[in-house]
Amino acid sequence: MAYQGEIRFLLNGKTVVLAETRATQTLLDYLRIDRSLTGTKEGCAEGDCGACTVLVGRLHEGALRYEAVNACIRFLASLNGCHIVTVEHLAGPRGRLHPVQQAMVAQHGTQCGFCTPGFVMSLYALWMGNPTPTVTEIETALQGNLCRCTGYEPIIKAAHAVNSYGSPANDHLNRERANVTAQLRALQPEGRIETGPADDRAILPADLDDLAVVLAEYPKATIVAGSTDVGLWVTKFLRPISPVVFVGHLEELKRIEMTDDALTIGAGVTYSESETAIRAGFPHLGEYWDRIAGWQVRNMGTIGGNIANGSPIGDTPPVLISLGAEVTLQKAGGKRVLPLEKFFIDYGKQDREPGDFVAAIRIPRPAPGQIDAAYKISKRRDEDISSVAAGISVTVTDGAITDARIAFGGMAATPKRAATVEAALIGQPWDKATFDAAAARIGMDFKPLTDWRASADYRLLVAGNLLKRFFLEHDANSAAPARLAIA
């Protein structure tokens, strides 16, 4: 197959063509070192502080979509055909400040100023899509931005004030939308892209069939979708990952299909892209979804990646397992479908054969009488990794529990169902005594670890208490709230 050796993109409105790009070249280092665009800062190089936030514009379902992303863990090669917008691109003619910048200055939203460009970019992305956000929407958009000086109050005020300085309709990225869309279309590759030296090779397959071909050829290749995990392998652990097969651009992995029976999500769909469908199909996951990482990471990270990396503390596996989700694995020889819980064999070990890639996740719609909940316990409410995550699905028929699927993250070497707890529920009446008894059995299913996120004792205690919470939240006789309100 013919392939292109160049990476092409727009940077602040100008076309850039790079003949050679190492797979592990991060966007942040490219901006700061190669382009001297030092407005974008490195605070952590792990996608947690947001000082490196830039906008990436890309074609999604034919339309240009701008999103805030972390430049520190984003690989440049994955940005072929995209528009990268940095803080340097915001000011208008003669240096006139952008409405977001004006609001930040007027509300005294800067102190040391190091986090500021990242906040400006996140607020820019927010304002572009939602010029009159609520406090909760602002806080959700800023989950991935740390400020150590201001205490955030003036930044929140600035976020509210942006729209009084200008309308998104007059924003230059919006005015240039048609033009940029056309330019990005012209930059889309004809076929496969391969670039970079042999020991740091980047491969962007042309399509899904090509992906299978590439993986058959390089079964040990590192598959990268959003790079929100693999990015850290590089920036923090200096781990060699060549060859890297990028899949985030493959439209075939970005499909979302909702039927009466199930929601099927392509493995390359980001958390943000799936949000609407998830909320529609599984309302109990709406709040949980907003607590997965920060906004920038949700704009890059994929559900497929969260599953494929097999982490025992990934946010989505427990809640998907409890819903009875299935995963489709694909390779050159064909496809196979297995229950998600079977995919996780042991710590660091998944049921992935050579050449396999995660293609899609199918989540059955809740059956009548099925009650679902998703809980996440973490040290900090937002943008934290769970100490315990729980997906609870219980079916109640005529006052009795007829089915229970309960899965936990953070309790074992893999995301895992609580078989004993489930057994203790099934066949029992829906009442407090049943859940108290089931909660008392949590220690028969799990022997969690103690680490910096939580002790084993806390994990066991809180996991049991989440079952109690589940009952209280869903019992018709409970009046008082059983957990903290979000807003």
Partner: protein, 772 residues
Amino acid sequence: MKDHTTINGAVHHDLQHDSAIKQVSGTADYTDDIAEPRGTLHAYLGVGNVTHARILSMDLARVRNAPGVVDVLTAADIPGVNDISPTHRHDEPVFPTEKVEYHGQPLFAVIAETRDAARRAAELADVKYEVLPHALDPIAAVAAGLPMVTEPLLLQRGDVSGGQADATHRVKGRMVVGGQDHMYLEGQVSFAIPGEDDEVVVHCSTQHPSEAQHMVAQVLGVPSNAVTVNVRRMGGGFGGKESQMNIFAVVAALAAKRLNRPVKIRPDRDQDMSATGKRHDFVIDYDLAFDDSGRIQAVEGHFAARCGYSSDLSGPVTDRALFHADNAYYYPHVRLTSNPQKTNTVSNTAFRGFGGPQGVVAAERMIEEIAYALGRDTLEVRRTNFYGDDGRDMTPYHQQVQDNIIGRIVDQLEVSSDYQARRRAVLDHNAQGGIIRRGIALTPVKFGISFTKTNYNQAGSLIHIYTDGSIQLNHGGTEMGQGLNTKVAQVVADAFQVDFDRIKITKTTTEKVPNTSATAASSGSDLNGMAALNAAEQLKDRLTAFAADKWQVTPEQVAFLPNAVRVGDEVMPFASFINHAYEARVHLSAAGFYKTPDIHWDRAAGKGRPFYYYAYGAACSEVSVDTLTGEYRVERTDILHDVGRSLNPIIDKGQVEGAFIQGMGWLTTEELWWDDKGRLRTHAPSTYKIPLASDRPRIFNTELADWSENREMTIKRSKAVGEPPFMLGISVFEAISMAVASTADYRICPRLDAPATPERVLMAIQRLQSGG
């Protein structure tokens, strides 16, 4: 000329941070943003992977042979003294030669063509160790017989055993208070450019350029006059760049001189957090005696701190913990001791409050003990014990509290926060016994202002006026976001009565103002504002004398008006007046100086007046706590804080809000966690959780006590603001404690340790429900 009746940017008025526009535009330069000259090399530290061990051998051949490596530096390559101890105790080598004393201690530096190459090579050392036993916390370290890193302090007054004997109640307890990482968004970074002879210029992200200068000189074995340290701004400091930049400045300079090429060093966040010091963890044992009215009779307190392997600033930090163990309360009989304990951990350092918060949090714990023992509102107990007039105004260090306004602050906040009604509502809510419990607490802070090392309380400035009437201002303070440059420039604008924009604030450099103190102890504006005012006054005196002479008027007939000068009946624009002065050969440059008056401290005796004055404040916070999980949320916080007559109210308010949130983070979600191998496992924002926007109180009201005026002759009667409001975060901690206490009907003091993570909260609830 402009027809202003007042100038733009006068003191006591809101003015935006002088760098705000650059900051939002991405054009404010931080050290890593400085354009690199041709040939710039990059350094990276190679660190040990054991906690305590004798170094048997260190084979660096693979490091040297790695791609891109230009040089490797070890202790043997240091031409001067292998020590960067800020108190000159010679207990902190740049690179150790015999022993590794904590996990992640730097052992050598790699210099390479790129940072990436240096980073990769730094992993390749082959070091052989004889591993030794380690002790990570002060309790284990005492048990293991480790020494103190510096001399302890004793503060005492009155007759403690007599006070204990007379009291009707006595409570002994222990509180464990965790440390805190600075998590400045801009990590450590230094960039050295070699000059001729022995000269070197170091751009360094530091709160203490003079210290970096002196350390570079000491390590290079050159006089201080050969070393220039510059800092335009930091991306946050919080105390973490008061001494912790030393190793980076020194390594960059050493490599730059050795290789005669510019060298930059910037650790990644993991190395920054594991190889630089933090706020000290404390284990505090208290023995409290009080009477039926809740009035404290006697306090004994022992403050053991996790100092790490060397002294760094642990002496003054543990001292300040004792200085603040009274917070705003009078202790009739008191005995306080510190234990600056050596541990096999990174050497802990300055952090906003400098030990003070650990003292204050202990005082507030004792208040809680009394309240829960007697079944009283904590606020009542606080009031009962506030410093007063009649013989109740002497601190444990024998300084009389002369400027006490805590009563007025608390009274005002009690009303404005509607404390009493809300507390009743909280009690009613909890009485219903639901899963979600609430707590409310109104906590005060009194904080002593001045460096307790008296000689640090001095500052210099340098002002140039150019012939076009533009003014360049320099002072010894550093800008880390706190708005110091803005405030000092306001003082100068006010002195000359010129618009703020006429004043150019430039980088802080040891070339312009020598022998500066750290920008620390909240002292930046107090010291540098006065030094700048002194320079301005010198210039004004000179200009007045010149004008009186030239136009034959009396000095009283010369007046600096907004952007103009009136001489007799004539008013001329400032710029033309300056030009006249230049023509007449008036010296248009002045160096200013200031030293804080009236302070003295005899550490051996534990007596003196270490503080020029006190700053006060109070916060009322209400929380909700989920008793099934220990999760919590801050529903509302009201703050009333005293900054005297504020130089810039909006900037001070920003300091108050930011400090509150940082203090809240210290006591809630920010947890330093070492594993049993001695590795710090919370070493980046992925694992170390500082507050986010969504952690803010749902309602957040901050007011400055606009009626307050410093009784001392500080700069424009303002007060320091950097540290005191940090301790307002204790209100959240205490409110959580109350919610926890509700699960046992407020009969048991929950004795929460800090940080009160959801885990600690839930475990405390468990403990209380099983009887304490």
